[in-house]
């Protein structure tokens, strides 16, 4: 009788996992369409909740006493931290938050593989070679994702420079780490000695760091997408280790779709994935310009009053928002300015670069938050043909996305990225805090263009002054 109950409960659990799998597939499908995205995500959350709840019917977990309590404590702790952080974090800090949540998932997957191996060894069983292989894969991919995401976070948070970090002997070091990892895997497979797994864990953490350091800040979002895919694969690997279809399918779904998404993102930037990942390796970045020498070149800086008049009497004004607008929390003031201009009969629209902000689609989220109507947002491809007929291109806290070097300077790190052609407008107004280069760390010729007027200062303050100036004009 007992066995019957255990059996049916086990079957029920497998069936619930199957329902969760279907839920995840539908969730991913929904997330790809603007209409169903939110419902898709909620469906995914429901599927995950169901599967997690059902896991507690597992006899080993239910009767594990102290372990059960500890698991509940860990879950409570995680929830208590994750919910407020996810709810309170500023929309501008979203990319680094996604990086962190991704990294910890990779870390969990790596730990699962390690613990399962420890468990098998403690039982005195020498695991089959393919089990060891699964463990090694889980440890390798999960750890790379964990430390890589951590570095991505540090870069996006600007705790270290967003520029590609290169150092002498970089290729040699990468090569040594790569070979060492390969050798370790072979030795670990042959001997089955658990010490090699620990060493692999450490080396994989190092690999994650040295893999991400040379990637430029502007490319980090694509990298996060790739690491997201890695974590998916690490989760799938731990599914293999634990003989669990739910983890295999969910992890593989994310792994495969993540690769596709990464490709979509890099093509939105006009770059190939290898170019993004490896362009800084070995090569010294040319055309970095940098801060030095900036002061010596003449730029024209104007007053809000003059620019206000220019805007008020323009026919067509294009606002090109960038991350600086988001940092200054100026999206609401930008909307006020657009409204004030529209009231004066000026045609206004926003030209949105696909990677404006810090992630593809980031700017759309930020402007949606400020209630800017969708019909005033034009995607880059739609906006560019109209740029030559614009009287004013108002660049608010953007830099790299309007940098002509992306089209004209083959050595530039952003070469090949499509840009918004602010340079084609009659007048160009830059709202910028300083002459510092953008996130990609490269100088922008457009700042020195004779058509350009600089308005230095906090984007929100400056926009506020412009609103007043437009009203007076």
């Amino acid at each position: 009788m007992t066995t019957t109950i255990t059996f049916s409960l086990a079957t029920a659990r497998e069936l619930v996992y199957l329902i969760a799998i279907a839920g995840f597939i539908l969730a991913l499908k929904g997330l790809g369409s603007p209409k169903f995205a939110r419902r898709g995500n909620q469906l995914g959350a429901a599927a995950a909740t169901l599967a997690i709840a059902m896991t507690f019917t597992l006899p080993t977990l239910r009767h594990s006493g102290k372990n059960l309590v500890l698991a509940l404590v860990a879950m409570a702790l995680g929830t208590l931290i994750a919910v407020p952080v996810a709810r309170m974090v500023k929309m501008t800090a979203m990319p680094q938050l996604v990086a962190i949540f991704n990294g910890v998932g990779g870390g969990a997957a790596a730990l699962i593989s390690v613990v399962e191996l420890l468990h098998l060894h403690a039982l005195g069983a020498k695991p089959a070679t393919y089990v060891t292989a699964e463990v090694l894969l889980g440890v390798l991919i999960g750890s790379v994702s964990f430390s890589g995401s951590a570095i991505a976070f540090i870069k996006l948070q600007e705790l270290i420079t967003g520029r590609p970090i290169t150092y002498p002997g970089q290729q040699v070091i990468n090569g040594v780490v790569g070979v060492a990892i390969g050798a370790l895997i072979v030795v670990a497979l042959l001997t089955g000695n658990i010490v090699f797994v620990y060493v692999l864990l450490l080396l994989a953490l190092v690999l994650g760091v040295i893999f991400v350091l040379p990637i430029g800040g502007a490319d980090v979002p694509v990298l996060i997408s790739l690491l997201n895919s890695f974590t998916g694969l690490a989760v799938a690997a731990s599914g293999f280790v634990l003989d669990n279809n739910l983890l295999i399918v969910a992890g593989t779904l994310v792994g495969a779709s993540g690769i596709i998404l990464t490709r979509l993102m890099s093509s939105a930037m006009g770059r190939s994935l290898p170019n993004i990942l490896f362009s800084a390796f070995g090569a010294v970045i040319t055309a970095t310009g940098g801060e030095e020498g900036d002061a010596s070149r003449p730029v024209r800086s104007g007053t809000a009053e003059d620019v206000g008049v220019l805007l008020a009497y323009a026919r067509k004004v294009v606002i090109i928002p960038g991350y600086g607008l988001a940092v200054a929390q100026a999206q609401h003031t930008a909307r006020e300015l657009a409204d004030a201009l529209t009231a004066k009969g000026v045609e206004v629209f926003y030209a949105i670069h696909p990677v404006a902000g810090r992630m593809p689609g980031h700017m759309n989220v930020l402007l949606a938050e400020a209630n800017v109507p969708y019909d005033e947002l034009k995607e880059m491809d739609e906006a560019n043909p109209e740029m030559s007929t614009a009287d004013v291109a108002l660049v608010v806290g953007a830099n790299d996305t309007v940098n002509p070097a992306a089209q004209s300077t083959p050595g530039s790190p952003i070469y090949g990225m499509p840009i918004i052609h602010a340079d084609e407008a009659e007048h160009i107004i830059f709202l910028k805090r300083s002459m510092r280069p953008g996130f990609a760390g490269i100088d922008n010729e457009l700042l020195y263009d004779p058509k350009t007027t600089m308005l230095f200062g906090d984007a929100k303050d400056t926009l506020g002054k412009l609103v007043a100036a437009v009203a007076d004009a």
């Binding site: 991913l28 995205a37 898709g40």
Partner: protein, 109 residues
């Protein structure tokens, strides 16, 4: 060994499904999709719970505890943050009309 082949079959099929499902996504949804799929791999929490159930000895329990904690951050934070992002994408872009006039000063009639 048949077990591993069955799992490999599932793996390959799931990979094809994953590729099919996101073949075309508008760029405005790239960030939410990344974040949403990030939440989905948070299901690794189920795996963390499984190992916690059978963990013996300090090392296994400590690492298992850590795995449960990290996975919870991933799954809970992932879904919450994605929902917050998507909250702002109400309706299809073209269906959305300008908010009513009482929206604020300077809104044109």
């Amino acid at each position: 060994m048949t077990g591993i082949v069955a799992y490999l079959t599932v793996f390959v099929l799931a990979a094809f499904v994953g590729i099919e499902v996101v073949s075309k996504v508008p760029s405005i949804l790239h960030t939410p999709l990344m974040s949403g799929s990030n939440a989905i791999h948070g299901i690794v929490l189920v795996g963390s719970l499984l190992i916690m159930g059978e963990a013996h000895g300090t090392a296994q329990v400590v690492l298992g505890f850590l795995a449960v904690f990290l996975a919870t951050l991933n799954v809970v934070g992932g879904f919450v943050v994605t929902d917050r992002m998507l909250e702002m994408f109400k309706g299809k872009p073209n269906e959305r009309v300008r908010p009513p006039k009482d929206d604020g000063p300077g809104t044109p009639a």
